[in-house]
């Protein structure tokens, strides 16, 4: 049963909030403002993380360690990984789009706990700044984003402790967000709206939030124990004091494999929203999509030891985790076939949003195939901790999540700002991102297979040429943000008016003005029982035709 809380009636509070752009710097309680805060904040960290990635690729254009000192390289590497995961992908695919869209999708005027929501966001900027400033204090952490002891215990303590504190804050933010999404999706649904009528992104966020709430506390506990080992010289993980380093790895991956799904399940949800609109077709296989999300959530919790095949695990454990990991490919595969079936027979507008979504499908399929291969113990013992793994997970997180983030920006920018992005510039952006990405990461499979380990600043000279190709791809990726940024700023001021529903979408966020009013709808929230009823429902005409010019 759904209780329709007359959404905690935050209006009087909101009227006290600043207006105009100032509200984006305030402790706003409006879910749309918070969503955009997450988005912009995440993008700034993406640019920082990208700059660090460029520094890494510059170092790797030559086989010697010559661009930066070796310990600085490890700091840059650690910051890059941590920023990209905890300050860009996780906050954006969950916080930004979740906050912006979920209240619309459930027919509510805000999230269940608006204040908790604002707190969750405002934990992020200080945590991020602290993490980055640790570099200038005494050197940042240098044990990788995995922070395996004993390395993390023996490297300079200040940087590692700051790293732990900021990851704890970011984890806290993520847990607050997760609780809020679960409560909103289950309890704030508008009367008459059934669970199985929700847009797919709600299901993805429900599954993701379950993972967040179950696994993030384990990471927090682990890192607190690690910090005791560092500052109080306890011996949880320190073998010199009788601790066990493998226990840390189990605890760490119990969070960090689900973290992978925390980064991609929301992306799966977003793609499921974008494809039907631009293909003018219902989402294929709604029910199987829902079950496969829940299947991924369940299996995702029991595969962590596939990151530890070379740590020395007993044979039975290796077998169990091989099988569990490989079987995630089944629910994941269902989703991909369903998306292709959604494309099939549609009336597809070849716009930037659809191009990025299809780029995601292609990239992720490759990342999934290498993932299934890595799940096979005998295969993994050769390529574990090599550039093959680096290629694999960038196909997942960049080729997957980042492509979907861009697709989503092109799709929802008109809603959030009331302006269209320039499509030609958008397609150009897609093209160089896609080429740059594949040029950068595809060759890394070969590097790993042939003997280049990951996390190194120097390597065998025989790999120079292929590394230079990879760096050229990275350069192209860096350049690709320029047309994007230009497009965003230019369109914000000079872009075509979007109108309320430029894509003629059926989900509830399109049934209000662009940008939407503080209460989301003037009047009652619409009851949308068929969010994907293309071809059946009478689709609203675009309120003004500018949006669809080609």
């Amino acid at each position: 049963m759904t209780i329709s809380i007359p959404p905690s009636n935050p209006e009087p509070l909101k009227s006290l909030q600043p207006k105009g752009w100032m509200r984006y710097l305030s402790f706003s309680l409006d879910h749309k403002v918070i969503g955009l805060q997450y988005m912009v904040c995440g993008f700034i960290f993406y640019l920082i993380g990208g700059a660090l990635a460029s520094a890494i690729r510059i170092e790797l254009t030559s086989p010697m360690s010559d661009f930066m000192a070796r310990d600085v390289y490890n700091q840059v590497l650690t910051l890059h990984g941590t920023i990209m995961i905890f300050l860009w992908i996780v906050p954006v695919v969950n916080g930004a789009f979740g906050n912006y869209l979920i209240p619309f999708y459930v027919g509510a005027r805000d999230m269940a706990f608006p204040r908790l929501n604002a707190v969750a966001f405002w934990l992020i900027p200080p945590a991020g700044l602290m993490l980055i400033s640790s570099y200038f204090i005494n050197g940042a952490a240098q044990s990788g984003w995995t922070a395996y002891p004993p390395l993390s215990i023996t490297t300079p303590a200040a940087g590692q402790i700051i790293w732990i504190i900021s990851v704890l804050l970011l984890g806290g933010s993520s847990i607050f967000g997760g609780i809020n999404f679960i409560a909103t999706i289950l309890k704030l649904r508008r009367p008459g709206l059934k669970l199985m009528q929700l847009p797919m992104y709600c299901w993805a966020m429900l599954g993701t939030s379950i993972l967040v709430v179950l696994s993030t506390p384990v990471l927090a506990g682990t890192l607190i124990l690690l910090s005791f080992d560092i500052v109080a010289h306890t011996g949880f993980f320190n073998p010199e004091l009788g601790g066990n380093v493998i226990v840390y790895q189990h605890l760490f991956w119990f969070y960090s494999h689900p973290a992978v799904y925390i980064m991609v399940l929301p992306a799966f949800g977003l793609v499921s929203e974008i494809l039907p609109v631009h293909c003018r077709k219902p989402l294929f296989g709604y029910t199987t999509m829902v079950y496969s999300i829940m299947g991924i959530v369940f299996l995702g919790l029991i595969v962590w030891a596939h990151h530890m095949f070379t740590s020395g695990t007993p044979p039975w454990m290796r077998l169990f985790f091989t099988i569990a990991t490989a079987f995630i490919a089944v629910p994941t595969g269902i989703k991909f076939f369903n998306w292709v079936a959604t494309l099939w027979g549609g009336r597809i507008s070849l716009n930037t949003a659809i191009l990025f979504s299809c780029g995601f499908i292609v990239n992720f399929v490759l990342g999934g195939i290498t993932g299934v291969a890595l799940a096979q113990v005998p295969f993994d013992v050769h390529v574990h901790d090599t550039y093959f793994v680096v290629a694999h997970f960038h196909y997942i997180v960049y080729g997957g999540s980042v492509f979907v983030i861009f697709s989503s920006i092109y799709h929802w920018f008109p809603k959030a700002t009331g302006k269209m992005l320039n499509e030609n510039l958008g397609r150009f952006h897609f093209l160089i991102t896609f080429i740059g990405f594949n040029l950068c990461f595809a060759p890394q499979h070969w590097l790993g297979l042939n003997g280049m380990p990951r996390r190194v600043a120097e390597y065998d000279p025989q790999f120079t040429f292929v590394n230079q190709i990879s760096s050229a791809g990275a350069l192209l990726m860096a350049l690709s943000t320029l047309p994007f940024l230009w497009n965003v700023f230019h369109s914000l001021f000079k872009g075509d008016e979007a109108g309320d529903n430029p894509w003629r979408g059926l989900t509830p966020e399109w049934l209000t003005s662009s940008p939407p009013p503080v209460e989301n709808w003037n009047g009652e929230a619409p009851l949308v029982t068929e969010p994907y009823g293309y071809g059946k429902t009478k689709v609203p005409e675009p309120l003004n035709q500018i949006g669809t010019k080609d």
């Binding site: 070379t310 740590s311 091989t322 099939w344």
Partner: protein
């Protein structure tokens, strides 16, 4: 028709594109067999899916100005069952096949810890083994006892110790076709022992001995690479394994051994 071409093409690519380094251990050809199968299946899937996406984008793109909707198909149970069952079968096949490979690599055999090595371990600690633990099939045919060698890893070097002869060396010398048992432990942080030409890797862990067995099959010098981030000089942490003819090995051994008198 298209799918037959795809499958044939995939098999051809799997058989003809070689992305792997030289084969230098009894373990490596088995690995390459697995790689070939995975690469073939992967190529078929990847090309197939990409092809479907590109075909749909071209075939079903809308004409400019067209406002019509596509057909309202919301699902198709038999299709959905098909693409649940087919991947499940492929995964099952891959799983069983790789289990077989794992077994052939010696992964399922009990760890063969020699008496002699056991007393070198502190107390009654568990020993964890990597793949290739215990002697491989070829080795047991030859009735050769495995050559025990101890590896100590530290920032940033691998040190090998031959209990028989009490040799300490920075280079790993092994005779060809001789099964070797490496017992490994780290003095400081986690390192990993990796020889790409052997297709083997095992972490070297402080406070937790690990064991790795292999049989080199090709004469030459191959790099030993540390594969676990271990500090600033991780990228430079390398050593060499020298696989040589039995006579050459014996000569090297005699030159360096301190206690040659123990049984030959």
């Amino acid at each position: 028709m298209v799918s037959i071409c795809l499958i044939i093409g995939g098999i051809w690519i799997g058989n003809n594109v070689n992305l792997l380094p030289i084969v230098a251990s009894s373990n490596a050809p088995v690995y390459d067999e697995l790689f070939k199968v995975l690469f073939t299946i992967g190529t078929i899937l990847f090309v197939g899916m990409t092809g479907l996406v590109i075909y749909s984008l071209i075939k079903f793109r809308s004409k400019p100005g067209e406002l019509e909707d596509g057909i309202a198909i919301e699902g198709n149970l038999s299709l959905e069952i098909l693409w649940t069952a087919v991947p499940a079968i492929v995964i099952l096949f891959v799983g069983l096949y790789s289990y077989d490979i794992y077994d052939r690599m010696g992964g399922m055999q009990p760890l063969e810890v020699h008496h002699h090595e056991q007393h070198l371990m502190k107390g009654s600690e568990r020993i964890w083994g990597g793949i290739g633990s215990s002697s491989t099939i070829e080795a047991s045919n030859q009735f050769t006892a495995a050559l025990p060698i101890e590896l100590t890893a530290m920032q940033f070097a691998f040190i090998f110790h031959y209990p028989k002869g009490d040799i300490t060396s920075g280079e790993l010398h092994v005779p060809i076709d001789q099964p070797v048992n490496l017992t490994m432990e780290s003095k400081d942080v986690i390192h990993a022992f990796w020889v790409p030409e052997f297709r083997l890797k095992q972490d070297v862990i402080p406070g937790q001995p690990t064991i790795l067995s292999f049989t080199p099959t090709r004469i030459g010098r191959y790099p030993i690479i540390c594969a676990e981030l271990c500090g600033p000089y991780h990228g430079g942490m390398r050593a060499t394994v020298v696989v040589e003819k039995t006579e050459d090995y014996q000569q090297w051994f005699n030159q360096n051994a301190k206690l040659i008198d123990i049984e030959a």
